[in-house]
């Protein structure tokens, strides 16, 4: 089992309830998209899985371990096996892209290697390979403050690819990218997950991307799981109900009109065949 949430609730210190009684189980190698309006609890759900937040109630199990029962050392090792792509990548503006990517392995590198890598990057080729997958290899030695929002998000993705975690969490990983780039970046995350057989769970604001790339869609609304379905069974009514609190049309990443039923599953299985062969 990759992770298991059992009746998990989370209440922020200010009393705001972000998640109530959520239960979710994922087997190793599953790919799950979490969709829902802003403030539905998507980030909270991912941070609970990252063992960055401790649930107020309920039981969290990640990679067959219960994070909050572990000693400090074992919790640290568990965290190093989980990769989180942040919506606004937490990268120091003065840091170089290469350093930001290599930082993905700080959890597993011995301290002296991390220290030496500041004087001369420990794995230039490895960092470049991951950045090249996202079409950004030419910015390897630039500083993060010279990059646009979408480029920074790709550096954040490259860091997690370089980390090679057993559980990939992505919190709106493509929110600052144009449709083509967003599609390409999600493709890389999905490829990474399928080739290494690790679990990928991504929160996405854009419904079309979710339905296209993920065989399992979890709808989150007001801190509760509204539905948990394969994309072919996600109806337009379910989506309208999910986004009822947001005015206007359904949030999409591309500008094409939204078509149901999605071709997600068929396209996906084709792609999977080609990447695994």
């Amino acid at each position: 089992m990759s992770f298991q949430l059992q009746n998990v609730s989370f209440v922020h210190p200010n009393g705001q309830r972000a998640l109530s009684g959520a239960s979710l189980v994922a087997q190793h190698g599953e790919r799950i998209a979490v969709i829902g309006p802003s403030g539905a609890g998507k980030t909270t759900l991912l941070r609970l899985l990252a063992s960055a937040l401790r649930p107020t109630d309920g039981r969290v199990e990640v990679l067959d371990l219960r994070p909050w029962q572990l000693s400090a050392g074992r919790l640290r090792r568990l965290r190093s096996r989980i990769g989180m792509v942040h919506q606004s990548p937490p990268l120091p503006p003065r840091q170089r892209v290469i350093t930001a990517i290599l930082a993905g392995r700080l959890g597993v590198w011995p301290w002296w290697k991390s220290l030496l890598s500041l004087f001369y990057p420990a794995d230039i080729a490895g960092a470049r390979d991951q950045l090249a997958r996202l079409d950004l290899a030419d910015r390897l030695f630039d500083r993060c403050d010279g990059l646009s929002g979408g480029q920074l998000q790709r550096v954040g993705v490259a860091r997690v690819l370089y980390q090679r975690p057993e559980l990939i969490l992505a919190d709106e990983p493509v929110s600052s990218m144009d449709p083509a780039l967003a599609n390409h970046t999600i493709n890389q995350l999905v490829t990474e997950a399928t080739t290494r057989g690790v679990t990928l769970i991504a929160s996405l604001h854009a419904v079309d991307l979710a339905l296209h790339w993920f065989p399992r869609i979890v709808g989150l609304k007001a801190g509760e799981i509204a539905f948990d379905l394969p994309p072919v069974r996600v109806t337009e009514e379910a989506l309208r109900a999910l986004y009822a609190s947001e005015s206007g049309p359904l949030p999409l990443h591309g500008d094409q009109p939204f078509v149901l039923p999605p071709r997600a599953l068929s396209r996906d299985s084709e792609r999977r065949k080609s990447s695994c062969s």
Partner: protein, 276 residues
């Protein structure tokens, strides 16, 4: 229609006004206690006393022999300040690492060791207060008794007091910069020290460097003060000049001071530019 709706008010205005009034009420009696009275400066008798004292300052003493003493003493002062601040740095870094909340792994969650961490931070914080609470001059007086006259006493005094100051300010700089990068690294299994290097230092380095150089400048001044109690350097030279009422020598030493402060300023500007 009610008035509040048509003229929106700043809800914080009353709190700011109260703070201002309280500040004035607190500061006024302090001025009185400190016997601050600028009129005394312009009293005729005081003016003439000051005049005589200042007239003794010209011309500055420029004899080769005296300049030789000054050069030696300057070197000694620089050595005291630099060694002192280096030792202080090594005292400060581990202590700052221990008290910086944004580098605490156990605060995430909170996880295992949360209370131990909280108690440790409080303990180290009070240790920092003790270190910098006793003025370096007092430490110097103590150490002069132990080591005898000479620079060793001043170096140790600086290491202790400035270690406390640097530790406190380093921790505050680290907590006032963007802490999210370090937090993200801790959340993916980095150790504390590594999260500091990769997550906080890139943002905080220019401020830390400029504060450290500024403290080095302060250490130069402090080592002069400690020279008055027998800890060597320019201060000891100045103490002798003052006691012998040689104004010219005093002024030469003061000029050297100004040059040293200028030097510190230039170094700081240069380093900041390089790290920007």
């Amino acid at each position: 229609m009610n008035k509040a709706a048509t003229h929106p008010r700043d809800p914080d205005a009353r709190r700011r006004a109260t703070a201002l009034v309280v500040a004035i009420i607190v500061l006024w009696p302090l001025l009185v206690v400190a016997q601050f009275n600028p009129a005394v400066l312009f009293d005729a008798k005081n003016l003439s006393t000051m005049g005589t004292f200042l007239r003794g300052f010209v011309p500055p003493e420029m004899s080769a022999e005296f300049l030789g003493y000054v050069a030696r003493a300057t070197l000694e002062t620089l050595a005291i300040a630099t060694t002192g601040i280096t030792l202080a740095f090594f005292v400060a870094v581990p202590l700052a690492l221990a008290v910086t909340r944004s580098l605490s792994v156990s605060r995430i969650g909170p996880g295992p060791g949360y209370w131990r961490g909280t108690v440790l931070r409080a303990a180290v914080r009070s240790l920092l207060t003790i270190l910098r609470g006793v003025p370096e001059l007092v430490w110097a007086l103590v150490f002069v008794r132990v080591f005898g006259l000479g620079p060793a006493a001043a170096v140790l005094a600086l290491a202790i007091t400035y270690g406390g100051m640097l530790g406190k300010v380093y921790a505050e700089i680290l907590e006032s910069t963007d802490t999210l990068p370090a937090r993200a690294l801790l959340e993916s299994g980095s150790r504390q020290g590594v999260a500091l290097l990769y997550g906080l230092l890139p943002n905080a380095a220019p401020e830390i460097v400029s504060y450290t150089v500024y403290r080095w400048e302060c250490a130069i001044r402090a080592s002069v003060m400690m020279g008055f109690v027998g800890a060597g350097g320019l201060g000891q030279l100045m103490d002798q000049a003052m006691k012998l009422l040689r104004g010219g020598e005093v002024v030469t030493i003061l000029v050297v001071f100004l040059l040293l402060v200028q030097l510190a300023d230039a170094i700081s500007a240069r380093l900041r530019k390089q790290l920007a």
